[in-house]
C-alpha cells in the first residue's frame, strides 16, 4: 500500500518546510499527498445580522482565495515531479479539522510545521501542532 500524506499549510515559512518534508517523503515512498488549508473558524461565535447575511458568500470567497493563492501553486510543485496531489480548504478548529481530514482521506501520516500560530497564542493555548499530537489518530510529523 502506498503512503498518503496530509500536509497542513498555514501560509507561513514553516508550513513551506512541512511541504518540503512531505515532498521528500512522498518521493521516497512513491506515495501521494493531500494539501490542506484550515481557515480558523468556530461555530460558537457571535456575529451581526449583516455578517450572517453575507456569510455564505464570504465563505466561498475565503475557500477560493485559499485554493488560488496557497494550495494550487503548491499543488503544481508536486505534480511537476510526478506526485499525485489533492487539495482541500476547509473552515474549522485547525487541529480537529486536520484529524477529521486525515480520517476522510485515509492518510497514513499528517505533516505540519511547528510554528504557525502567533507566539502568544501558542504559549497560552497550545499550538496547533501540540494539540494535533495529542488528538491525532495517525502518526504526525512536526517540522521545525
Amino acid at each position: 500500500m502506498s503512503e498518503k500524506y496530509l500536509v497542513g499549510l498555514d501560509g507561513s515559512e514553516c508550513g513551506e518546510r512541512a511541504v518540503a518534508a512531505a515532498l521528500h517523503q512522498a518521493q521516497v515512498s512513491q506515495g501521494s499527498v493531500v494539501l490542506s488549508y484550515v481557515i480558523p473558524w468556530s461555530p460558537f461565535t457571535f456575529s451581526t445580522a449583516e455578517e450572517n447575511a453575507l456569510r455564505h458568500k464570504r465563505r466561498e470567497e475565503e475557500l477560493a482565495r485559499a485554493a488560488e493563492l496557497l494550495l494550487i501553486p503548491e499543488q503544481q510543485r508536486f505534480e511537476a515531479v510526478g506526485i499525485s496531489c489533492e487539495i482541500v480548504a476547509r473552515h474549522g478548529h485547525p487541529a480537529k479539522t486536520l484529524v477529521q481530514l486525515a480520517r476522510e482521506y485515509e492518510v497514513s501520516m499528517i505533516v505540519v510545521g511547528v510554528i504557525g500560530d502567533t507566539p502568544l497564542k501558542s504559549r497560552f493555548l497550545g499550538g496547533t501542532a501540540s494539540t494535533l499530537i495529542q488528538i491525532a489518530t495517525c502518526p504526525v510529523l512536526v517540522v521545525p
Partner: protein, 515 residues
C-alpha cells in the same frame, strides 16, 4: 470618514437650536418633545386602541389580544411545539447536526445569538420594571406565560423565514416576513397572492416605523435615563441635555451604519453577550443571597396575578400589562426575529424554527424572571416614588450591590447600542424592500434613523414608550394575518421533519466524528 462629518453636520443642522446650545439648552429637549408629541400620541392612540374586555372593566389594546390569540392558536395547532421541541432544539444549538463540510456557514448557534442580541436588552431590564411598577408583581406571571406561548409564534415565523428566504444578486441572504408573506401566499392562489403582497408592504412600512420607535427611541431614552441616574439624578449635568446624549449615541451608530466601520459592530457583538452574562450572574447572586425570600416573592407574584385593587380591571388589567410588556420584550409574533434567523445554513426550515424557541425562552422567561425577582425582593417598587423603567431596576440592583448601577449603565448602553444596530438592519431591509436597493434610499433611511435616536433621548419616557409600543406591535397585524394562511405549510414541514427526528434518520455528525 467624510460621510461621518457630513452626517454630523446634517444632524446638527436639523436641530435648529443646537448651534446656540449654551443659552437654549434647557429648552431644547422640551422643544423636541412638543414637536413630536402630537405625532407620537396620534400613532399611539390608533394602534394601541383599547378594546374593552367583555364582562370586566379592564381594557386591553387590540393588538396585544391579537398577539396572544395567535400564540395560543400556534401552540395548539403545533401540539405544544414549545415544549416538545426544546430537547431537540438544544441539540441543534449544541451543533450535533452541524455538517462539517458546511463549516464556515452560519450555524444555528450563531443565528440564535444574533437574534438574541437584537431582543435581549432594555425590553427585559426596563420592561419588567415598567410591568411591575404599573401592574404590580402579578404582571410578571402573565409576562412569563406570554413568553411561553410566544415561543410558538417564534417557531412559526423563523421556520417560514428560512423556507422563503431569497438569495440576492450580490450573494447575500435575505429573509423575513416581507419574503414569506409575498412568496408564501403567492403559492396559495391569486387572491391570496394579492393579500400577501399587501401584507408584505404594510409589514415593511411598520417595520421601518418599529425600527425608529421601539428599537431606537425607547433604547436611547432608557440609556439616557440610566446615565442621568448614575451621574447624580436631577442634579446631573446631563439631566436636561438629552439631545446631547442623543447626538453622541447617534454619532456612534453613524460610525457603523454610515461610516461602515464594521469592526465596531463586530466588537459590540462580542461584548454584548458578556454584558448579558454579567447581568444574569449579578441577578442570580442577589437572588442567591436572598434565597429565603424567593418562595415569598413567587407567592406574591402568583397571588397578585389574579387581581390587585390598585390596578384597574383586576386580573385582566394585570394580564394586559404583562402581555404587552412580554410582546415588546420577546418580539414574538412581531416578525423581526425571522429576519435575523433566516441566514442560517440548513436544508430544513423547521430546524431553525425549533432553535428559535429558545429566543423567548431566554429573553422573556429566564432574563425577565431574574429581573423581576430582584425587583420584588428589593421591595423598591413599593416605595419607588414614581420611578419606572430602568431607574427602578437600577435601584433594585443597587440595594444589594451598591456599585452595580455603574455596571448596569455600561450594560444598558451596550444593549441599547446593539439593539439599535440590529434594528437598523431590520429597518433597512424593509426600507429597501419598499424603495429598492439604491444608495440614495439607504442613506435616507439611515439619516432618519439617526434623527430618531436624538429625539428618543430628548423626550419623556411616557411619550416614548407609547409610540415605541405602537410602532413595534403594529408589525404583528400584517405578519400574523399572513401567517394564518401559511399554517398548513408549516405543519407539513414540521410533520415531515419530526418524522425524521423520531426515526433517527437525521445525520448526527457529532457522533460520527467521535467514531
Amino acid at each position: 470618514m467624510s460621510t461621518i462629518r457630513t452626517l454630523a453636520s446634517l444632524i446638527t443642522a436639523s436641530l435648529p437650536a443646537a448651534a446656540s446650545a449654551e443659552q437654549t439648552a434647557v429648552g431644547l429637549d422640551e422643544r423636541i418633545e412638543t414637536l413630536l408629541a402630537p405625532l407620537t400620541g396620534w400613532v399611539e392612540r390608533i394602534i394601541l386602541f383599547p378594546t374593552p374586555i367583555p364582562g370586566s372593566d379592564a381594557q386591553m389594546a387590540f393588538v396585544v389580544l391579537w398577539l396572544i390569540i395567535a400564540a395560543f392558536v400556534f401552540t395548539f395547532y403545533f401540539r405544544f411545539i414549545n415544549l416538545r421541541g426544546l430537547a431537540h432544539g438544544f441539540r441543534l444549538i449544541r451543533g450535533d447536526y452541524n455538517d462539517p463540510r458546511a463549516a464556515g456557514e452560519v450555524t444555528h448557534f450563531q443565528a440564535l445569538a444574533t437574534a438574541l442580541s437584537g431582543t435581549v436588552g432594555l425590553g427585559n431590564i426596563a420592561g419588567v420594571a415598567i410591568a411591575v411598577s404599573v401592574g404590580g408583581p402579578g404582571a410578571v406571571v402573565w409576562m412569563m406565560l406570554a413568553g411561553f406561548l410566544g415561543m410558538s409564534s417564534k417557531f412559526v415565523e423563523c421556520t417560514l423565514g428560512v423556507k422563503y428566504r431569497s438569495i440576492n444578486p450580490d450573494g447575500s441572504v435575505s429573509g423575513g416576513p416581507m419574503w414569506y408573506l409575498s412568496r408564501g401566499l403567492a403559492e396559495r392562489g391569486p387572491a391570496l397572492a394579492t393579500l400577501g403582497k399587501v401584507c408584505a408592504v404594510v409589514f415593511a412600512i411598520f417595520c421601518v416605523g418599529g425600527s425608529f420607535g421601539g428599537a431606537n427611541m425607547f433604547q436611547s431614552n432608557q440609556s439616557f435615563q440610566q446615565i442621568v441616574g448614575v451621574t447624580g439624578g436631577s442634579e446631573s449635568w446631563f439631566a436636561d441635555k438629552g439631545w446631547l446624549f442623543g447626538l453622541i449615541m447617534a454619532f456612534f451608530v453613524a460610525l457603523v451604519i454610515i461610516g461602515g466601520i464594521r469592526s465596531i459592530a463586530r466588537v459590540t457583538s462580542k461584548i454584548v453577550p458578556l454584558m448579558g452574562a454579567i447581568y444574569i450572574t449579578a441577578g442570580l447572586v442577589i437572588i442567591g443571597v436572598h434565597i429565603d425570600q424567593v418562595p415569598a416573592a413567587f407567592a406574591l407574584m402568583f397571588s397578585s396575578a389574579f387581581g390587585v385593587s390598585s390596578v384597574a380591571g383586576g386580573m385582566l388589567g394585570v394580564l394586559a400589562i404583562g402581555f404587552q410588556r412580554a410582546a415588546f420584550s420577546s418580539e414574538a409574533g412581531i416578525g423581526s426575529a425571522a429576519i435575523a434567523h433566516s441566514a442560517v445554513q440548513t436544508n430544513e426550515p423547521v430546524s431553525e424554527g425549533v432553535v428559535a424557541l429558545y429566543e423567548p425562552f431566554v429573553d422573556t422567561i429566564i432574563v425577565c424572571t431574574i429581573t423581576a425577582l430582584v425587583i420584588i425582593i428589593s421591595g423598591v417598587y413599593i416605595d419607588g416614588g414614581g420611578m419606572s423603567g430602568v431607574e427602578l431596576t437600577s435601584e433594585a440592583f443597587e440595594s444589594a450591590i451598591s456599585w452595580f448601577p455603574y455596571v448596569l449603565a455600561v450594560a444598558v448602553i451596550l444593549f441599547a447600542y446593539s439593539t439599535m444596530l440590529a434594528w437598523s438592519y431590520y429597518g433597512l431591509k424593509s426600507w429597501t424592500y419598499l424603495f429598492g436597493e439604491t444608495r440614495g434610499a439607504e442613506y435616507t433611511y439611515k439619516t432618519l434613523f439617526l434623527l430618531f435616536v436624538v429625539a428618543g433621548a430628548s423626550m419623556q419616557l411616557g411619550a416614548v414608550i407609547g409610540f415605541s409600543d405602537a410602532m413595534i406591535l403594529a408589525m404583528a397585524f400584517p405578519n400574523l394575518l399572513g401567517i394564518y394562511f401559511l399554517l398548513p405549510t408549516v405543519r407539513r414541514e414540521l410533520d415531515r421533519y419530526w418524522a425524521k427526528v423520531q426515526a433517527g434518520t437525521l445525520q448526527t455528525w457529532r457522533e460520527n466524528m467521535r467514531r
